[in-house]
Symmetry: D2
Subunit: 315 residues, 4 copies
């Protein structure tokens, strides 16, 4: 039984990778293992066909197969959000209708890279709202690094206020803590219905601070999703220092995985090592790891395990 | 009988618009009229699903319908090139296979907007060559204004030399006359097989000079395609002053139609007036003309007719 | 006797070049000749140290010498505006104080290239207003092509309303006719004190239409400033067709001179031919003309003279 | 006694801030304290008038005063590099001559933001070499995040090979480890004279890995310069795990200080707390810290002290 995405969403929505075989074909068996891997580690939602899901490198048929496979494996246990950013509204409508039919819980839309002024951005999301229609809950993605579009706090608030179905903000602006505080303050004051805000700034590199500013959790990717799950849980339980301790234990590796350009290759390499997928293949054009990169990762993992062991012992 | 695009291509390849009805639906009846309009005015080829063809605003199904309709109406009389730039290689391969099956003569590819260094650009087009395979002739589109990618003369020459099937360059860099001279000089020296070079700099606003530098014709859009046809013919016939006279007669309106952002609305408005399509509809997000814009256009058309009349009288 | 720039400014403010000798030294003798050249052809103002004045290539001492020379030669006959865009407010204040002391009539400021949101832009110009102080009239330069900053109509109106000393808008957005209409409509309605609006869209390539939308004249550069002067005069005299006739006669060459990247070299080449400056030198990094470029220009000038002769004969 | 910068440079070159008073005036007393602070913590060089030194916000006179003050206080104990990136070569030459006369050890130059193709970049640095002349050692700054210019490994190697006086690379490309490996491999093979390479990727957030790839140290800023000094020393002493231990202890705060946009305010706030400067003032337009930001920092500092204490106890 599918549930639609709503404003109460919290916890960790994993930005899922798209697994390929060593020859570059879509790997549906690994897709199942990956879904299990994420859910077993406590994911409260999944987001697929995002940038880190190599969405633009898939054919239309591959996209459909992948979405179908994920939805079947999830089987309604957690919400699944599908990236629906598109260069035009007709393909956005087509993709959205298709994935909602299959059982997705909602879609995520980022501003088109050509937008510049406040008026243009607000008009664009009015058209997004019309395009998606009254039955599709959606996530506003605020990620200037990938889109080049800077949305001020006021603009985000106006979009959220205008669009009844925009139930969540994926907050990835940087620096973003002040913006997060201001957005949450506005919803606490009742200026607009309280949206779910999941943070992804720098790929989760500011997670403890973001939770402190009112984020309801995280929506990002990391080969150790349990870090985000445990940090959110500790924070929700009021143990902020414990949240930082956990975060700090993973930070050196998380930082390495968040390197622009090469990060996805690092993530897939780690996910192979952890048994989540079969191959670290990234479709072209994409990065590949060198022996030196793998040695760096090996050291960082070894050191991370030591720190986690010490942390367990102390708690 | 379809003919594949080859290095001997010359004349005027019209960048076709995509006609919509007033309610925004694909207008296949107007598609036929538009094809007739272009061919009756002397187009030696058509290019469809380009930026000015609103390609990104079409669903996959609409793209297929439009391509099919154009190819059926053209019926092999002139080559038809289809824009195949895509964010990933799998969708590029899928689209290319589909349109070549339907009878297209070749595809056109621009560099991905993320490319920066010479090495990245050259590696990208090596992958394009692999993706398209040995049977698909293709056009390299050099249009920094839309892609943000600047390809030096040396880089363009290396791409052309590397790719046996890259038979044509759509030259739209600006300033571009020196680059055009250098590219043609290299092919005349025999550094590489002579490519067809069709110019589109500023939407044809430098056509007479480009022909003087070795362009084989034009690939761009203008609601008066006969201007480009006649300029090319006069130039090919050795009457350079006549080519300029014709060009100058159309320049004030061409300039107005080439305004970034609003140009497509101007072009469709003029094509409606000329009976080429039924509606000037541009899909959202897109510009609309004001009464003042239409008055500007009316004056420019009236003045243009007067100049053309004077030119006819004098020739 | 210097007069400060005010809201009544109209006519043609020439964007002056900075003349160098063949060896690249500042050429003060040519500076005098250039001032005479512009004023004899009817310039109602000069703007110096703009982008096309190679301002960033001058040392601080050279800038001062050049400003001083221009002001001495102008001798108060027309207002002189000095470009004061700077990466920081302290150098903007320093430069402004220095040139106002020397007798400039005002300064011109464009938004810093890093600005993105409406709020950022408005806050920036509040700081510009504070920096320049109560005694310096200034020009707001709206030129997205060079700054990358897009200011909506609403933002421009708020800046103009906030800053009592911002007496003029240099309008160079493209497409810009609708924006110009909206800005002028707002000042006609009395929403804000009526600013002078001088147009420069595409280097004057839309001058007749801009005058029709409420521009008070032009602020741009062209080696034939009499074109802009005569077009403005004809328009002001109510003879719109005559304004277009004049404009059209110069358009083929104006278009060639407005090519990005190489335009300044074309302009200086023509100014040397017309006796306005001694050398076409552009400081590095900058373009140089080829023999083919010069041949293009020669043909365009010859054809222009023929058209102007015919126009004189007909009037 | 001043020493010129040379290829043997290593260790930590601090990117210095520029101290202001609470009212925004240049604070020369704090300048002295800051120099002492950096040198007492083991800096082997200083870099001033960089982006994080708010260079563009200073008047020419302020720049000179600041450089003079720093050089006087350093008194030849370590090399001082001065940022000399400028929009034109004449001001670059003027600034360079001025600071070298005062006793600087060299200058640092980044590519102009307008450069795109490999040829353009290489030609630009040929002109930089000519501009600086045979007596000024210089640092090539490779920082695409601030310049927008991506230089491939091949381009950096050609610049280094072409310019005899380019003795150091400030390596800040990201992802940059593969590039660093390739650059160092080329100099080890003897393809070019071995340059000093100081790393600054992400503000030092990859320092241990960069040292492992052949960096000679770091050139970046951090309010705890002893981190970089100690990490470099441990690495140079062969204790890579110790280098990582130290790095990890500071990483949570370093990450916070490296937030784009707000980072400089964090750094100055911490430097005030540590007694290095009197005021955290950042000149407009610039960020200011909120109470929540300061609380974040306080927690991070407290936790960092605890980790450092534990690390001392364990070593």
């Amino acid at each position: 039984m599918t549930h639609k995405l709503d404003r109460n969403a919290k916890g960790v929505y994993l930005i899922a990778v798209t697994p390929f075989t060593d020859t570059g074909a879509l790997d549906l068996a690994s897709t199942d293992r990956m879904v299990d891997f994420y859910l077993e580690r406590g994911a409260t939602g999944l987001t697929i066909l995002g940038i880190m899901g190599e969405a633009t490198k898939l054919t239309a048929q591959e996209s459909r197969s992948f979405v179908k496979q994920v939805l079947a494996r999830v089987a309604g246990r957690v919400p699944v959000v599908v990236g629906a950013s598109a260069a035009g509204f007709a393909p956005m409508r087509e993709l959205t209708a298709s994935v909602m039919d299959m059982g997705a819980s909602g879609v995520m839309v980022a501003p088109a890279p050509t937008l510049r002024t406040d008026d243009q951005i607000i008009a664009y999301f009015d058209m997004v709202g019309e395009t998606l229609g009254p039955d599709v809950p959606w996530v506003l993605q605020d990620h200037p690094v990938s889109t080049g579009v800077q949305m001020s706090t006021g603009v985000v608030l106006r979009i959220l206020a205008n669009a009844a179905n925009c139930v969540m903000l994926k907050h990835e602006d940087c620096p973003g803590l002040a913006k997060l505080s201001a957005l949450r303050a506005a919803s606490e004051r009742g200026d607009l219905p309280r949206p779910s805000i999941l943070a992804g700034n720098g790929g989760g590199l500011f997670l403890p601070e973001e939770l402190g500013r009112g984020a309801d959790g995280a929506m990002t990717g990391f080969a150790y999703p349990e870090m985000m799950v445990d940090v959110c849980a500790a924070h929700a339980g009021g143990d902020v220092e414990r949240a930082h301790d956990l975060f700090d234990a993973y930070l050196p590796l998380a930082r390495y995985e968040q390197q622009a350009g090469i990060g996805l290759a690092v993530r897939k390499h780690l996910m192979v090592q952890r048994g989540a997928i079969a191959s670290a293949m990234v479709r072209k054009p994409g990065p590949a790891l060198s022996a030196a990169d793998r040695a760096d990762i090996e050291r960082l993992v070894r050191r991370q395990e030591r720190r986690l062991h010490a942390l367990d012992a102390s708690s």
